[in-house]
């Protein structure tokens, strides 16, 4: 999963250095951890990669909600492996952020005290088994739209993490889609679950790309730095164009009366999500914000004694080894 609404940091560096840096980016060179970089670039990337990492970790929760209720052994293994992949993505991304000089623990503290955010989508509940299909298909699908271009992002460690993540995300998306295909070939109850899942996840998935470009104030600098590769509206349109035929193939109805193919544009016209809902979710008023944060805080607090013990054991072991020498 990915980052949204990343504010680019203003930068106050030597204009000559800045120009040389921008020239490197314009030539398509990768910026590596030891290279000089503007403070604003570093801070914006920390915020973006950190938010992306947090999204992976918080994103484990809505799907984790169904691991113990998966309806077959195979589905259980697939879902568990998928959620485990997300933890792995979190790990690569925290490592990428660490190359910018911020520790994983520091980022976690910032998530838990509200200084950093995670993607709005994970504040929605997963209510039936079809949601596991809808999350894979729509949520991972939207994430892929955003992340595929980021494989070419200017910051080397982020680009390389993204290559690996994209491979797994596209597998997850197919898995989600197949789950729905199977259910749509099933009973009326199963079909109803699928339609209900699409109804609930369609607009939240569109919101994942962030507000409309005309309201998105942070894009220009990030795009110049190639840490944002496309505008929000471009990506949202691409997602709608690719997803609508997939919904039709499933036999599902996209919950948008305004959805219509526009021949002149060569794209679908569609209704924008309710942006007041989006801003509400960002402000903490989504259906699951409180639960998600409480679950993360509890995991972190409950795990404190384990982390302390492992550290203490490591130190004791090292001391014993030294004493034995």
């Amino acid at each position: 999963m990915y980052a949204q609404m990343i504010k680019s940091e203003a930068t106050q560096d030597d204009p000559e250095k800045l120009a040389a840096f921008q020239a490197r980016i314009d030539r398509g060179e990768k910026i590596e951890p030891k290279d000089w970089m503007p403070e604003g670039y570093r801070k914006t990337l920390i915020r973006q990669i950190g938010q992306h990492a947090h999204s992976e970790i918080v994103g484990q929760l809505p799907e984790g909600n169904w691991i113990t209720r998966a309806p077959s052994l195979e589905r259980k293994v697939n879902l568990l492996a998928k959620v485990q992949d997300e933890a792995g993505h979190g790990l690569y991304l925290y490592c990428a952020a660490e190359t910018l000089g911020v520790s994983r623990d520091a980022l976690t503290e910032m998530l838990l005290d509200g200084r950093m955010k995670y993607s709005s989508i994970f504040n929605y509940p997963t209510l039936t088994w079809a949601d596991m299909g809808a999350v894979g298909w729509l949520v991972d699908g939207a994430a892929i739209m955003n992340q595929v271009p980021l494989q070419r992002t200017s910051y080397g460690p982020y680009a390389r993490a993204m290559v690996r993540i994209c491979k797994e995300e596209s597998f997850h998306q197919r898995q989600g889609y197949h789950l729905l295909l199977k259910m749509m070939a099933g009973t009326d109850d199963q079909k109803r679950m699928c339609q209900d899942a699409l109804n609930r996840f369609w607009y939240p998935a569109l919101m994942m790309f962030g507000p409309s470009d005309k309201d998105s104030v942070h894009s220009a600098q990030s795009m110049a730095w190639k840490i944002k590769m496309n505008t929000n509206d471009e990506l949202r349109q691409k997602f709608v164009d690719e997803t609508v035929p997939q919904a039709e193939y499933l036999g599902l109805t996209v919950p948008d009366d305004g959805l219509v193919w526009n021949d002149a544009r060569g794209h679908y016209d569609f209704t924008q999500p309710d942006w007041s809902e989006f801003y509400n979710v960002l402000q903490g008023n989504g259906p699951c914000n409180a639960e998600r944060m409480a679950a993360r805080r509890k995991a972190w607090d409950d795990g404190a004694w384990v982390r302390d013990a492992m550290l203490a054991h490591g130190q004791k072991k090292a001391a014993r080894r030294k004493a034995a020498e």
Binding site: G64, T68, R69, S72, G90, L91, K182, G303, D308, L311
Partner: protein
């Protein structure tokens, strides 16, 4: 029930129930690496359960599938040891339960590789590789937590007191074990288990309890704990609520 079938179900249910318990940790582990490792172990165990259940379904010959056996049996037809159905408790209790099981599971699977039943030997050989890794990891973690801080030591001592009476059942022979020849007697694993457990508890600064009392009733299905029914209610919800659906 046929003794050979029951023995296969015992392997399947140990793996399924413990795998399910470990999967409950997904997303809420104490540190990301542990979260991933617990999910790995859970995946291995559920994979093993699938292989055993497929074989059990064949042995049973009643046209049922591995999923039928996992999702449509009630408590008294489950044949897992009580130890693996106990609630996770804190991370230390989860890992200590895992360690007690792994210390049995690895030598047990190694012994099963010599089974005259080729299928049993085959599944055991595949599973033993995974169990070796599980044991290495759970033993290391138990040592770290027992040795770590005053708090972690106290938590591990409490987990040990709670879990200890449930360990013995893994190695108590009953009529089913005696009535078949595809698998060795569980009691034959006792010396290996004792050696591993004594060494790890000592290194973890934990004192092995004196008592050899063992709760039983899981492997026979005669008297499970109350915890298993709740686990099944959750695990089996969809196939039970929508009996004609396939997923």
């Amino acid at each position: 029930m046929d003794a050979a079938l029951e023995c296969v179900l015992r392997q399947a249910d140990n793996a399924l129930v413990l795998g399910h318990r470990l999967s409950e940790w997904c997303g809420v582990g104490p540190v990301l690496e542990e979260d991933i490792a617990l999910a790995n172990t859970a995946l291995d165990l559920i994979g093993q359960a699938k292989l055993w259940l497929e074989y059990a379904a064949e042995v049973q010959g009643a046209g049922r599938t591995a999923d039928d056996l996992a999702f449509r049996r009630d408590v008294y037809d489950f044949k897992n040891a009580l130890l693996v159905e106990l609630p996770n408790g804190d991370f230390g209790q989860t890992l200590l339960r895992e360690f007690f099981f792994d210390a049995f599971h690895l030598p047990w699977l190694q012994a099963l590789t010599a089974s005259p039943d080729a299928r049993v030997a085959e599944v055991a050989a595949k599973s033993a590789k995974e169990a070796a890794y599980h044991l290495e990891r759970s033993a290391e973690t138990v040592i770290a937590l027992g040795d770590g801080t005053d708090e972690s030591h106290a938590r591990m001592a409490a987990a040990l007191a709670y879990l200890w009476p449930y360990t013995g059942e893994l190695m108590v022979d009953d009529a089913v074990d005696l009535g078949q020849d595809a698998m060795p007697l569980p009691s034959s694993i006792r010396p290996a288990w004792d050696t591993t457990v004594n060494a790890v508890l000592a290194e973890a600064m934990l004192t092995r309890p004196d008592s050899d009392f063992a709760h039983t009733g899981g492997r026979s299905g005669v008297r499970h704990t109350e915890h298993l029914g709740h686990m099944l209610a959750q695990m089996q919800f969809l196939p039970r609520a929508y009996p004609t659906a396939t997923w």
